[in-house]
């Protein structure tokens, strides 16, 4: 509260008594206040059959509002959040309400200075990424000070010192770091049109956390370094990013003193109608947190997304999505996409789009060293025997005429449930899946879309089928009915239908959505974070607005 007051004082000060460096804009530019708002609430019915947890409050809700003020080179803002009480599936450490986000920024063409909260990432985020995924309840925003400076075109320097948000408090660890990014062409060869472009970046970050452990001698200052290189020439683009972290015994790595390493490599070739991506990655003991005793999706400093296709169709997206294993994994992804030309036999009037994707992740090849505080040894380029995940799929998208279009997707997955979810006794699941999505546009405003999906497996909870009918009336309305049916469950009593209906109304920056029905337990992932959502039965309402 006290810091918020300080911010407000600064804000009023800036608005009323412009200092010299900002005077021109402050006097002439118009002040603007904008923001956004979201409220999600659910009424929970008792449903023991699907294993929905009992909710004594009956109604739970999450809400937030952002208010951003800008005037010329100055901006400031706050976000109020409330969890009364926090909805099922979100971290229960979100308790009550408060203002976990407030900031003030001054910026001009070359310089940007921020105090308070800010989001930031160095390169691809291998050693630092502060970001938010509100739908997943993930927010590791930094709280401190940051300066960004562009001394010459093509060179960007950043420096920061901050603690990290954890629910309604801050991390015990303090982060200090910096990043430089140099675009060789813009910095040294401005105005010259070279075929090859090169971008180089380097970053360093240090975390301080005192050692109060009675037994272990833990490093209080843990440093991590990152380097990256991006070379672009015509249709080719090659990117490499490497990270190194000194010894950092933590709850996550079971207190070993081995240094951590991470490497991401990717190459793409693309031209009109054709694209190829090849990527590889290796993570070794690279979980980096602002509290070494942290568990769950909190206190994460770096960003380690899965190197697999990000699916959005219901069954592939939420039943067995892969989650990165930061303590050790090695994997690849290949994606080939092309477009069969319009007017050809297979292309038809609108062309046909085809995507083939294969990705695989295994454990590292580890030799456990007895009584060694380093924990294990691992050869860098050797792939471990244990399979964590496989995803092979084919997607065909075709528009037949003005009214009809369709997507067909065939997938085959291998999912090591024990490793990915940190469980025991579930083993590995083998699951072929299919998705058919057909849309029929009745006229300019009315469209009907139907989805049919299946997942076949003998293991775990057995096979699933899913059907969806959606009707949209442009530009304001949609209605959808979804049924998910666990027809392959070993227990006949659990061969249940999960039927849900949703209605939504959209106008300008606003949307309201009401749903009713049973929701299957699932895992929802975006980027590097996954959220386990338990089964539920009830009425949901979601209101959002951007203004």
């Amino acid at each position: 509260m006290k810091s918020l007051l300080n911010l407000l004082i600064a804000l009023v000060f800036f608005a009323a008594f412009p200092s010299n460096f900002a005077a021109q804009n402050i006097l002439t530019d118009q002040a603007e206040l904008h923001g956004n708002f979201q409220l999600d609430a659910q009424y929970y019915n008792v449903d023991t059959l699907i294993g929905a947890p009992l909710v004594p409050e009956k109604i739970l809700s999450n809400g937030f509002m952002n208010l951003w003020y800008t005037k010329g080179n100055f901006s400031a803002g706050i976000r109020y959040e409330n969890y009364l009480n926090v909805m099922q599936g979100f971290d229960s450490r979100y308790k009550g309400s408060g203002i976990p986000f407030r900031f003030a920024t001054y910026s001009n063409d070359k310089l940007e200075a921020t105090v308070g909260n800010f989001y930031e990432q160095f390169g691809g985020g291998l050693i630092l990424r502060a970001y938010e995924e509100r739908g997943l309840g993930f927010d590791n925003v930094l709280d401190g000070a940051r300066v960004k400076y562009e001394p010459i075109p093509g060179l960007i320097v950043k420096a920061l010192v901050a603690r990290q948000r954890a629910f309604f408090s801050l991390s015990p660890g303090i982060l200090r770091g910096g990043d430089i990014e140099l675009n060789i062409n813009d910095a040294f060869f401005a105005g010259k049109d070279f075929k090859t472009r090169v971008v180089f970046g380097a970053s360093a970050l240090s975390r301080f956390q005192d050692d109060q452990d009675p037994i272990y001698n833990l490093p209080e200052n843990v440093a991590a370094f990152g380097g990256r290189l991006n070379i672009i020439r015509g249709k080719f683009n090659i990117a490499a990013e490497y990270g190194y972290k000194i010894n950092d015994p933590s709850a996550s790595n079971k207190l070993i003193y081995r240094p951590g390493q991470a490497l991401n490599l990717s190459a793409t070739y693309s031209t009109k109608g054709f694209g190829l991506l090849v990527s590889a990655k290796r993570l070794d003991n690279f979980d980096f947190r602002s509290d070494r005793s942290a568990a769950g999706n909190a206190y994460n400093i770096n960003f380690l997304p899965a190197a697999t296709r990000q699916h959005t169709y219901n069954l592939p997206a939420t039943i067995y999505p892969y989650a990165t294993q930061p303590n050790g994994e090695i994997g690849y992804q290949v994606e080939l996409s092309w477009r069969i030309k319009k007017g050809s036999l297979l292309g038809g009037k609108y062309g046909t789009e085809i995507t083939v994707n294969a990705s695989g992740t295994n454990g590292l090849d580890k030799t456990i060293a007895a009584n060694d505080t380093l924990g294990y040894e691992s050869e860098f380029f050797k792939v471990g025997k244990e399979v964590y995940f496989r995803d092979y799929h084919l997607e065909i998208h075709k528009k037949f005429n003005k009214s009809w279009k369709s997507t067909l997707m065939l997938l085959y997955w291998v999912y090591n449930k024990d490793v990915v979810q940190g469980l025991k006794g579930f083993g590995t699941i083998y699951a072929p899946m299919a998705v058919l999505d057909v849309a029929y546009k009745i006229n300019d405003k009315n469209t009907i879309r139907v989805e049919a999906q299946s997942l076949l497996t003998e293991q775990d909870g057995g096979s699933w089928a899913m059907g969806l009918i959606e009707y949209t009336y442009s530009p304001n309305w949609f209605v959808a009915v979804v049924d998910q049916y666990n027809f392959g469950n070993k227990s006949e009593d659990l061969r249940l239908h999960y039927l849900t209906g949703n209605v939504g109304y959209m106008k300008k920056g606003n949307r309201i959505m009401i749903g009713y029905g049973r929701q299957r337990a699932g895992i929802f992932c975006v980027g590097g974070v996954c959220r386990n959502v338990p089964a539920s039965n009830g009425l949901t309402i979601s209101i959002l607005s951007s203004f």
């Binding site: 407000l8 118009q30 002040a31 203002i99 691809g124 970001y131 683009n237 694209g275």
Partner: protein, 171 residues
């Protein structure tokens, strides 16, 4: 809490008493180009003609639908109104390298930029994508819409036409 919000709401009224009806200034933030350069949103340019700014991601089906549907009409739209479409991808490190092959594969003829840590998305207070903005001759936001349903692009083009004829946007 109430006082703080009330106070914050007062500030713009205090400091800009002579406010006249106009669009919202487009926030100034840095974006990445597909060939690794850093540009500023203040460099957006369409010679006084309207600009459509559409936020999307490779994994967002309705976003891709919207951009694909507009792509089929884009030549006609440009001819009639001179409108420019800018597509801003919020794909993060997981999918960022896929953006260029994806755009090429679709054959989209847009200016495409990357907002890999959602800085611009946040500055525009976007809740969810797809989210589309319409900018006037002074590059001010005069209309916005979240989500996409088939046919929305026709409504959007009506607004673009109103704008290019010098009319005020009326829904």
């Amino acid at each position: 809490m109430k006082y703080i919000i009330a106070l914050l709401l007062l500030i713009p009224t205090l400091s800009s008493g002579q406010a006249k009806e106009k669009g919202r200034e487009f926030p100034i933030t840095q974006l990445k180009t597909l060939d690794g350069r850093t540009i500023s949103t203040s460099d957006f340019q369409n010679d006084g003609k309207p600009i459509i700014v559409s936020f999307w991601a490779t994994w967002c089906k309705p976003c891709v639908n919207e951009l694909t549907n507009m792509s089929e009409l884009y030549d006609e739209w440009k001819e009639k109104t001179g409108v420019k479409i800018i597509a801003i991808s919020i794909d993060d490190a997981r999918n960022m390298t896929k953006v260029a092959p994806f755009v090429n594969g679709k054959g989209w003829d847009y200016e495409v930029y990357l907002d890999p840590n959602s800085d611009l998305k946040r500055a525009l207070n976007i809740n969810l994508i797809p989210h589309t903005f319409l900018l006037n001759a002074d590059k001010q936001i005069v209309w916005q819409h979240n989500s996409y349903t088939e046919g929305d692009e026709l409504k959007l083009f009506e607004l673009v036409k109103q704008l290019s004829e010098g009319k005020t946007i009326a829904e």
